[in-house]
């Protein structure tokens, strides 16, 4: 191989290495949510708040919320603003989905109507906030759709653990939403690797 060729290979390799280094700098945010005055740390939404100057496209893929055995499945669903949700009825009884408000704003109330088993109806959530999902013929049923501004979100497991993946480096504000607890705010700096943020949610 001539001298020029070796230089070219060296430049290309270095560029590739630098590129790889740039990609791997996106990090994860993980942690544990503990609760005070609330029964369970499960189903708490943890998400990155809106980033000034940054706009995110809503995902094309729909999210499914099912009604099964007279229960909303999953109970809490976190979606990015602009996502379309498919409400499916898997029960052999008539169901209904409606929400009386989104984060208390009654102007955003909506009723999806009724549809039989095996069918679905879709709705695109364009407003931020939490929509309590109800069924007007089975009042004990409840679920939540939590609409957040960025694609960086997660929901806690039974132990309160969460992981938000592939967050670009930067300084962010993290928020929580919980059915029974008050919202919390926490700052986080994300670099390459994992940032650990433990949060306490209170009633």
């Amino acid at each position: 191989m001539g001298r020029l060729s070796r230089v070219i290979v060296l430049v290309i390799s270095s560029s590739a290495l630098l590129l790889l280094a740039g990609v791997s700098r996106a990090g994860d945010i993980k942690g544990k949510v503990t609760v005070q005055g609330i029964k369970s740390a499960e189903d708490i939404a943890v998400y990155v708040d809106a980033v000034p100057g940054k706009k995110f496209d809503a995902p094309a893929e729909h999210v499914v919320i099912d009604q099964k055995k007279m229960t909303f499945v999953p109970h809490v669903t976190v979606i990015m603003q602009g996502t379309t949700v498919d409400f499916l009825n898997s029960d052999p009884v008539g169901h209904n989905v409606y929400w009386p408000s989104i984060s208390g704003n009654k102007k955003l109330a909506h009723n999806m109507g009724t549809w039989p088993q095996g069918q679905k109806k879709s709705f695109q959530f364009s407003d931020l906030g939490a929509a309590p999902l109800l069924c007007n013929v089975h009042p004990e049923m409840s679920g939540y759709a939590v609409i957040v501004p960025t694609p960086y979100f997660a929901i806690t497991d039974k132990e309160g653990n969460y992981t938000i993946k592939n967050v670009p480096p930067g300084h962010y504000t993290m928020l929580t939403w919980s059915e029974e607890g008050k919202p919390t705010t926490q700052s986080v700096d994300v670099n390459a690797g994992t940032a650990t943020v433990d949060i306490t949610v209170k009633k």
């Binding site: 055995k69 007279m70 029960d91 052999p92 009884v93 008539g94 169901h95 209904n96 409606y98 009723n111 109507g113 009724t114 549809w115 039989p116 069924c135 007007n136 013929v137 089975h138 009042p139 004990e140």
Partner: protein, 495 residues
Amino acid sequence: MKLRASSVCMSAILIVVGTVFWILVSTPRASAIPAFSRKYQTSCSTCHNNYPELNDFGEAFKKNGFKFPKDDELFVKELPVLLGAKAQKEAFPGAIFPGEIPGSLPIAFRYSGNFSWNAKQPQALQATAFVPQTDLFVPNTFTIISAGSFGQNLAFWVDDDISAGGTGAGGGLGDGYLRYNDLGHIFHLPKNALNVRFGQFELDLPFTQARSIYPSAYDVFSETAVAQPSTTPGQTVFQTTNNSFMLGTPQRGIEFGGYPNNGNFTWSVAIVDGTNSAYGLDSSLTARNTKDVYVRVSQRFNLERDPESRNAVQAAGPSGPRDHTSIRFGAFYYHGQNQLNYGGSQFSFLGTIDEPFYRTGGDVRFKYRKMELFGVGLVGHDNNHSVDTAAQTITNAPAVTYTGGFAGSNFWIYPWLIAYMRYDFVNSPTDFANGVSEYQTRNRFSPGFQVLVRANIKVIGEYQYHWGQPYIDPATGNTLFFRPNAFVGGIDYVF
């Protein structure tokens, strides 16, 4: 029209009228079953639009033997206790056929207590049939209810008023029966075309009295046939008809029935003991040698435009499932034979006196969105005799007849706020001749409201505008009439 009558006769009439009123306001109500709420972990409003009244889903649930109309096992949150593995069916008759019982005791309780404000009585009435102007928590009823299924085909219901009227001892069994669902399957009939139940039960009336939402009973269902309520000294000629049978009283017997065609057509034939000692309150209600028969048919026309909605258990409304828009027509016929003078107890020179009777009528119910309109028309007829104790003879006498019915409407202003209006009437020439009312037709208007404070707690209010009740004016001896109007308010809760 003013009548002169002896004070003894008037007292008897007042007692009869007072008993009628007592029955009207203290009809035992066996009803909602929160045990099902617990079994399925679902709200009362899944089956009830205003408990104990059932919505379309609740009707389907009840007709299916107290199970969800489809895939019941998917919704049961309390697993039953198996009394034998399902495979034991194959071992039968070498083993007891396997069954099941509810996982936890399916018990529910209901309390209802009413406050009543009554129109002030004339003094003459106070002496013989005093009703206070205000009465707190009367009737005061505590009911225990148990119902459920023993597997796929067997269902049961028991309800008992443990205490009523504040006495603690005036309660009694309402319904207590076992039902076998879909007996027709054995004969390859469509599903639920033939069911059978036996025990004690309210007849398949067009509108239930035992599980009515109203604090007062339907007047015509409480009507009896009495030719003459009392006798006067020296009287030798007597009218015999004395039939205390009431259509609304639970009966003991066996009933065959079915709900083919998606429950749109219903039929039932019941063979019952007839008059029975309901609640042990009235010793004159005794069994007879004869058995009575009750037949009812009804056809509901589902008026939903969408075929899929028409065939579903509930219609698909724009804001959620709702009852179907529908109109239902029905007819019923009750035939019995009252028997008097067993062993010559009344007239020693006569044997048993047989007096056939019937009650027949039709009904209609229309449902549209938040409104319900309904009505019943009924004719009663009792054979009658005239006994002359002096001549020791018995001859046919004009039958004791009456007509009557009711009509009303319910309107759901909100899912928790219901307004209603009901009109009851009974046209009884015999009652009028006996001085029970001012006119031949007794009317009553009853507007009311019900507030579902919670799905299992109600506050109710009903105003009753009554017909004129007779009394003797002590000053003149003339018969005057007063309207015992009343306002009934109350609380009602189940758990």
